[in-house]
């Protein structure tokens, strides 16, 4: 049963990481810090999934990036683009609609 739960949970959560990244990165941040932030916000994700994902979102022009070389360790900072912010708004609305739909289902039964 725990395996079955893990399987379905993974299916359910797939895609929520993208939305969470787009929302969090309205304030610029770099990969490793974002990993911790996602974890603390309840969106656990593996590093080997997140790092390639950030680059994919950048390629899709949903994120922009800048190298910050002011500190001793240069870091790549990602930030949600206007296009990314618009997509995040739409996806958030979809999420809320789903949430409302689930509530309606539960009240019916």
């Amino acid at each position: 049963m725990p395996e079955l739960y893990a399987l379905h949970q993974q299916e359910l959560r797939r895609g929520t990481i993208v939305l969470a990244c787009l929302l969090i990165l309205k304030k610029p941040n770099y990969g490793y810090a974002l990993l911790g932030q996602l974890d603390r916000s309840g969106f656990a994700v593996d590093a080997d999934t997140l790092y390639p994902l950030l680059r994919r979102l950048e390629k899709q022009e949903l994120l922009t990036s800048d190298w910050n070389t002011e500190e001793s360790r240069p870091r790549k900072f990602y930030r949600t683009s206007d296009q990314g912010a618009a997509l995040a708004d739409t996806l958030s609305r979809d999420w809320e609609e789903l949430n409302a739909a689930f509530h309606a289902l539960k009240e019916e039964s």
């Binding site: 490793y32 590093a47 790092y51 680059r55 994919r56 870091r75």
Partner: protein, 340 residues
């Protein structure tokens, strides 16, 4: 600097699987991420070497990470192409393998090779052809899977028209009756052939058309047994639902019966030499009778194999449609190669 750290080796291995122009940027970011993660662990009181080991363990197989960066699939052929792939492989296999194997066997017989070497040559060609077909088709689809421009072709829309049509009840009765009549006539002819004949020997006894060797060795009874079992399979196919055991039994019986026939014909053990002499037949008659039987046997096997393959695909008793099968191949090949 000769001492390479675990991190160096990890990053190197990851970058090696990436396009050169992406490497510098990814290297810089990956190294920073790994260093940050190690720092976090050492700040919490972990030993530096242990921390590095733990961080890299968490990042996982470099090949997987690189595939993520390069957006490369971690499968040979994905679900988008899988059905097209399987259909194409099966369609080519069932058409080309029996054709090339049959041609090899036929040429072997024409060259007058022994039965053993004809069978070995035929099987060898069948295996080689099948391996080539599966290998090259798989390679083609693996390339398509990895070439974005080839994958943009929309899959052909499936429609209910493609559903196989079950044979009607009357058609099924008809098949069973026809096959039973043929089987009874055939068995009667074979069993009576030693005693009922147009030719007689010096003592006035009948000379059977079929070689006495068949009776001496009992091969004729094996052959008739296989034919009757085949009739049983036809009955099962007509009145039972499709099932793997019956489907496998059907194709095995067909292959066994035809192989036996090919073996008999290839060894020139079918016709009674005494009969052909008595009837004054040219020696070519026996030769072409054998050749004709072998061709018919090969065609029967081809049909049985195609029917079984189509049956497995549809999970029902279907009659293979050569037209749609050739369409699948032509469509599959032209869709993938011409339109980009």
């Amino acid at each position: 600097m000769t001492a390479t750290t675990l991190t160096d080796r990890y990053v190197d291995l990851t970058l090696r699987r990436l396009p050169a122009r992406q490497r510098p940027d990814i290297e810089r970011e990956l190294r920073a991420s790994i260093a940050d993660a190690i720092d976090d662990r050492t700040d919490a009181g972990s030993d530096p070497a242990e921390a590095e080991h733990a961080v890299l363990t968490e990042l996982g197989d470099p090949a997987r990470l690189a595939a993520g960066y390069a957006d490369r699939p971690l499968h040979l052929i994905g679900p988008g192409l899988y059905l097209d792939y399987i259909r194409l492989v099966v369609a080519i296999l069932v058409i080309v393998v029996p054709a090339t194997a049959g041609a090899t066997g036929f040429l072997g017989i024409l060259r007058g090779e022994s039965a053993g070497s004809v069978i070995a040559g035929t099987l060898g060609t069948a295996v080689t052809t099948a391996v080539h077909i599966v290998f090259w088709t798989t390679l083609l689809f693996a390339v398509i899977e990895r070439t974005a421009s080839l994958r943009t072709v929309p899959a052909r829309q499936w429609t209910p028209d493609a559903l196989p049509q079950p044979p009607s009840r009357r058609a099924r009765h008809g098949t069973v009756i026809a096959e039973s009549v043929v089987a009874v006539l055939f068995t009667t002819f074979v069993l009576l052939s030693p005693v009922v004949s147009t030719q007689t020997d010096a003592a006035g006894d009948p000379v059977g058309i079929l070689s006495p060797w068949l009776w001496e060795t009992g091969v004729v009874y094996v052959f008739l047994g296989l034919a009757l079992a085949g009739l049983g399979v036809t009955v099962a196919k007509s009145y039972l639902r499709w099932s793997v055991p019956v489907a496998v039994a059907a194709v095995l019986l067909s292959v066994a019966g035809t192989t036996l026939l090919i073996w008999i014909a290839a060894g020139d053990r079918l016709l009674n030499p005494a009969f052909t002499d008595a009837a004054g037949w040219n020696s070519d008659v026996a030769y072409w009778t054998n050749a004709g039987l072998i061709i018919a046997a090969v065609l029967t096997v081809v049909h049985a194999v195609v029917e079984t393959a189509a049956g497995f695909a549809a999970r029902s008793w279907v009659t293979p449609s050569w037209k749609s099968m050739i369409h699948t191949i032509v469509d599959g090949v032209s869709l993938r190669t011409s339109r980009r």
